[in-house]
Amino acid sequence: MRNTAAFLVLAFAAAVATLVAQSSQPKSSTLQIPFESYALPNGLRVVLAPNNTSPTVAVTVWYHVGSKNEAKGKTGFAHLFEHVMFTGSGHVPYGVHDRLTEGVGGSNNGTTSRDRTMYFETIPSNYLETALWLESDRMGFLLDTLDIQKLDAQRDIVKNERRQSMDNQPYGLVDEIVSNTLYPAAHPYSWDVIGSMTDLTAASETDVKEFFKRYYAPANAIVSIAGDFQPQQAKPLVARYFGEFPRGPAIVRPAAPPVTLDRETRLVYEDRVQVPRLVIVWPTVGRQSDDRFALRVLDQIVAGPRTTRLTKALVYDRQLATSITARQDPDESAGEWRLTITPRPGVSLTDLEAATDAILDTLKAEGPTGEEIQRATAGLELGFVNGLESNLGRSMRLADGLGYDNDAGSFQTEYQKMLAVTPADVKRVANKYLTKGRIVLSVVPIGKKEMASKPSESTPYRRTDQ
């Protein structure tokens, strides 16, 4: 992310446009969101989703490149590059981008994941062409004005981002530890998106140029526009601003297959915290497997509201924990299912782990009830619809569909598949994925390794780099 949360909070009205066209019969499970998608001759793919609820437009430019495209020793580069994209380009001096988005009542930002990098702005609808001018200029002419000073400035900022979100945050290194442990060293998901300080220091101007030439080209990009515009107005503008760029080189995409662990890996990490935390992670599947839907419903059945299995038993009835979260995170081609448990004072993580396992074992043996599925999917349904509510959320979702599934309308299929999950599906995935092959990580106060779950069986985690 380029901008800090502070700026999002300071905004006078964070709300963006809303339009959720939904069938009046909820059971039909169809979301009606008008859109069309097409490609330019140079390979740039385009999605247009008109919606005139409010006079605003969101533009998302989606590039199929993320931290998985980095090499060992250059971790964090894709995200650092995202920052460089905000430093000005051939015809757009530094600062103009902000002036013509935030400065006219809109907003802008970028975000990098393992698999993709997105740049986006929301603007008043009369600034649509301006946004296309801004985005096309950095796609076509970023290197015209690139210099080492720009890179150095963003390098420092990104290091601060790492400090703020990880190094200076209690439990902030959990994601990195999990990535390092879950995936073998050669796997492109084995490092964190933010990268290591050493690698960030090593990134060079040449790296930026090569990365740009390889990945920031029309054939690797999607322009997704949602909001108050007419497609017949937008089409010639998109062609005009993006059509002249060469399609770019063919890209060899790294394989990032799902993994399994053949046995339990137990770790203890000492952090500057007062309250310990238990994190259990199972390797699962990414967007390419439909099992992710049942795994998502499973996380809604296991933890969350007080009716869910673990939350009810451990937070409410037996009161061993103060909070529990469960979450299925699918990246493009692999995923993880993670439990995060905070104990009540005096409760040992060993006991908490045993109690957790017993509840999961029951769920695996019996499967969930139909009502549990109903409760879970009702909430997921509202969440899903809300995610498509704003123009920005909509433009991102459509771009994701086109980028990952080659179908901007894949949200429709996802929605239907999620609502179609059965108790048998959940039982099956629980047994298939929540196995002994997992990571059990105890985060404990410094000098308190004995607070770990099964301390004698847990290996201290050592950071290799800061």
């Binding site: 939904q22 400090r163 500057r272 004072p345």
Partner: protein, 481 residues
Amino acid sequence: MTRRAWLVVIPMLLTGVLAVAQGTLDRSKAPAPGAPPVLRVPAWTRSTLANGAELVVSEKHDLPLVSFAITFSGGYNQGDPAARRGLADMTASMMSEGTQTRNGDALAAALQLLGTTVTIRIAGETGTIAFQCIAGKFPATLDIVADMLVNPSFPQDALERLRSQRLVALTQARDQPGAIASRVFPRLVYGDAHPYGQNVTEATLKAITRDDVVAFHRGYFRPGQALVTVVGDVNAAAAKTAIEKTLTAWPRGGERPTFQYPAVPASRATTIFLADKPGAAQSTFAIGTTGPPRSTPDYYALQVMNTMLGGMFQSRLNANIREEKGYSYGVGSSFAYGKGPGAFRAGGDIVAAKSDAALIEFMKELRGIRGERPITDEELSTAKDALTQRLPATFASAQSINTAIVSLWTQGLPDDYYQQYAAQIGAVQREDVVRVARQYVDVDHLVIVIVGDRSTIEGPLRATHVAPITMTDIEGTPAEP
């Protein structure tokens, strides 16, 4: 290109001629924007319910969605006794723990099946019971909400569980530099005698009893201090009838509070309060002082001033300390406004080794906006545009329309506030900006809270000679001199 080139370039962009749709593309100029979209403020109707609560309904039929809220005037700053800080928040949470006819599990299950979440929160000066739902589920959801509002059972065991969870959260907050700064800063600015300066502590949490919760609920959740708002796919008359019927059991009573606050402590010379966080990779800064209430006639000038100073990405603070110097991932400033003297606060997280340099830059920008660094035409027009052109997005969704309506009520603003907003912002002159900066960014009487690694930053901070340093613990209790 210099880093500030954008300030010079903009006038060209704004006066650029309309690009011709055909012909060669000239990328050297930003395309001229079309005519600004017309601000569309939705219509709403006001009435009063039989029990005295005010009602506002705004119909919006493009989607089968409804946004509902009951907003209460007054918050924990009015309702929490100093020794039971956290009572309002606890009561709000306890209202989801069951009713006379539905225990906590049954309540949660019923709401889950409706696919909705009812949020009950009490903030400093307002409280809210709110949900969003599919239109067809509005009556059923409203029934449950009425039950939660009128018939909560407040089980003792739930109180103990919530208390225990909050105590753990409090412990965890002590590990988090940002959370520490957010406790220390108001306490030092307002002192323990002012509600704005009081924090929830272990002692206040432990003092809260079930009787306190019952009494708070009885005194606070009353229609005489409430506004009911419904926005979305409803018929206004039918919605009113349904709400009257559903809320029959909610008896009259209550009135809006007067928001009397004790005087703020006498201001003292600018001081750095350093809270030690051994090993911290960054130092968290919170710099500020008491500010004006929302009702100040200086509101619009302050908004423009703060937008320039620290209210947007290319504001002076962020452009300098993040973008130019690279000391931070982001810094900014804000005014809290409110019914009382809400704080002015600037700050952010700074890499530990640059704590001293960042402090100097913060002070430079705070002095600068007071006139030492002249405000350019471009800065002034950008800040005004940024503020006024955000308005259309305010009315984009049922939920955001609801929020906009509620704001008028909680802040005592006229119904045509949004229509007048652009003119009010437009009327702000450069001298107004400088005047309010001089008045409210009082650089001689700042509280500068820095949470960081004392062993590495204290010496350099001292060497800046910006202000004397007083050590404080992470609760904001200064060390004995």
